[in-house]
């Protein structure tokens, strides 16, 4: 069952849970006994969003609602989309993004909750032939929130879609992206960063289906977890029969900074085509003790050395954001979380 349907019908038994293969590490059904009352409409001041200074088109959705972002053929746009939850109610939000042929868009999305809300956002993103979209997501949820974002992305040939999801977790946080990849020289980059502390949980789940020949996917997710936090990465790339000459790479690497922190990772390649070039790598481990000693021998206290090394580790993903303004916002966000 879908999270949106469970919220809309206020039926907690319809939530996905550990019996659903895709949700076994993010068990909403086991966590939520009853869906909270619907969120009240909110008319107060919502302050500034993290990307406000970068966008001329600013959309703010508080406690649900819908918006459409349509960019016509050949047009350019920078859109800041804020999805806010105020209070501890439940709600679902809908966003539709459509790019015409050769449109070029930067979509700067943020999730901001301030309490124990239960919320879900559905995004439907469609790129026509030759369209270019860079999506940067900053998920800054409240530690008591349950926040789910589910994007369904459809690409046309020659489209170029790049995404970076930066997440700091919540009581339960899930950022899901499903991409239908038509091949045809369309290019996909799907990146993620999670920096988790306290008892926060964050789940980044992606599914890419290569349907036809000549598609490219590059995926890199990195995480740093400390305290009792838990990071989840599930990445699946399916290369359908006949989707030859697909080039797909997936990497997931996480650092665990405390004994009680946890990372669960499931990278999967399902290949039904013959002539493909696919690879995946997955590492989960502690910070390199030798490098840490080297930095400390030069005079850095443990906290400073750890901050420097973890920022460098995460920096590889952040450097792949091509929009400089958004890259700076994400870098500052990471520095604030990793700072010694």
């Amino acid at each position: 069952m879908s999270v949106a349907a469970a919220i809309n019908t206020r039926d907690a038994s319809a939530l996905p849970g550990k019996r659903d293969e895709d949700w076994r590490w993010t068990d909403l059904r086991g966590l939520i006994r009853a869906i909270p009352d619907p969120s009240e409409p909110f008319a107060g001041d919502v302050g500034r969003g993290p990307f406000d200074g970068l966008a001329e088109d600013r959309r703010v959705l508080v406690n649900g609602g819908e918006t459409r972002i349509d960019v016509a053929a050949g047009q350019k746009a920078v859109v800041a989309l804020r999805v806010l939850a105020r209070g501890a109610g439940s709600h679902a939000t809908m966003v539709a993004v459509t790019l015409g042929p050769n449109a070029r868009v930067r979509l700067l999305e943020s999730y901001e909750s301030d309490g124990g809300s239960v919320s879900q956002t559905t995004l439907s993103i469609t790129l026509a032939d030759g369209a270019v979209l860079e999506r940067v997501v900053l998920a800054q949820d409240h530690e008591h929130a349950v926040s789910v974002s589910q994007a369904e992305v459809r690409l046309a040939p020659r489209a170029d879609y790049a995404q970076t999801v930066a997440a700091s977790g919540a009581r339960r946080q899930r950022l899901e992206t499903r991409v239908t990849h038509p091949g045809g020289h369309a290019v996909l980059r799907l990146d993620g960063v999670y920096l988790l502390a306290g008892k926060r949980h964050s789940d980044q789940t992606t599914v890419v289906t290569h349907q036809n020949i000549d598609g490219t996917t590059a995926q890199l997710t990195k995480g740093v977890v400390r305290d009792q936090a838990r990071g989840v990465f599930q990445g699946r790339i399916v290369v359908a029969e006949g989707a030859d000459r697909t080039d797909a790479r997936m990497g997931h690497h996480a650092l665990i900074l405390s004994d009680r922190a946890e990372v669960d990772a499931k990278p999967e390649l399902e290949i039904y085509a013959d002539d493909v070039s696919c690879a995946h790598g997955n590492t989960v481990g502690a910070l390199d003790e030798d490098a840490l000693f080297y930095a400390r021998q030069r005079g850095m206290p443990a906290g400073v050395a750890t901050a420097m090394l973890t920022e460098a580790f995460i920096g590889e993903v952040i450097d792949r954001i091509s929009f400089e303004g958004a890259r700076d916002v994400v870098r500052a966000w990471a520095a604030e979380r990793l700072g010694g």
Binding site: E289, A291, R296, Q297, R298, G299, P301, A302, M308, E316
Partner: protein
């Protein structure tokens, strides 16, 4: 300056240093030579506070201060510097960023103001040119993809930048070509001063032609088994360690 008395240390459950004593007065350079596995690098790690090296007896003081009670970074802030036998690669951190972070951490620990960006760059340019290091190399991730010799040169660059009081050079000469050896030795000699001390670990007399030691010690079996003037290094070069290994 550095006084080590009856130092004993284990790695895992293995005793490596077995009662090592050594005294390096301010203003002097002492060389340590000894067979592979004797405990030379272990001594350098114990003095700099690496985890996993447990001191089970003895003492080590710098200017009377108990080094063994300090964390690795506190020792560095007191001016202890180790040029590593195997320098680490630090992906994603440009050499200049690494050194500036280290320098400012040391300054903070000593209650001094941070170095400004222009001051730092000026100093870096000057030291890089003295050590014939291409300045662009300092913008690359520290030691990543550097050759063995370049890494050693980068150690001496860091040393020149941080200007420590007590320096331990662990086989800094290995991997250096003949010209680089001279350049590095000049860099090291530039740091010799009446208030600084140095411990130079090496296998080869050649380095000691450039960095002239006041004393030479033989470390074998976890102890200093012989000490002498610079002529001892020449004797070791001729005759090897056999008689000292028996003594150990």
């Amino acid at each position: 300056m550095l006084t080590v008395k009856d130092l004993q240390a284990t790695v895992g459950d293995k005793a490596i240093l077995k009662g090592l004593s050594l005294d390096v007065p301010a203003g002097q350079v002492h060389a340590i030579m000894g067979p592979n596995g004797a405990g030379k690098s272990t001594l350098s790690y114990v003095l700099t506070g690496r985890e996993g090296y447990a001191v089970t007896g003895g003492s080590a003081t710098l200017e009377g201060e108990n080094l063994l009670a300090l964390a690795a970074d506190e020792r560095a802030a007191r001016g202890v510097f180790l040029s590593f036998q195997y320098p680490l690669e630090i992906p994603g951190v440009p050499a200049l960023t690494f050194i500036r972070t280290a320098m400012n951490a040391q300054r903070k620990a000593r209650g001094e103001a941070e170095i400004t960006a222009p001051e730092f760059l000026k100093l870096a340019r000057q030291k890089a040119s003295e050590l014939k290091i291409d300045f662009d190399m300092l913008k690359r991730a520290l030691n990543v993809g550097f050759s063995g010799g370049e890494k050693k040169r980068m150690e001496i660059f860091q040393m020149a930048m941080l200007s420590p009081r007590f320096m331990i050079l662990d086989e800094t000469d290995s991997g250096l070509d003949i010209d680089a050896l001279r350049i590095v030795a000049d860099g090291v000699n530039a740091l010799r001063s009446p208030d600084r001390g140095m411990l130079v670990i090496t296998h080869y007399q050649r380095l000691l032609d450039y960095i002239k030691p006041d004393r030479v010690h033989v470390l074998a079996g976890g102890r200093i088994v012989a000490s002498g003037g610079p002529e001892l290094a020449l004797e070791l070069e001729r005759e090897g360690y056999e008689r000292y290994e028996k003594a150990a």
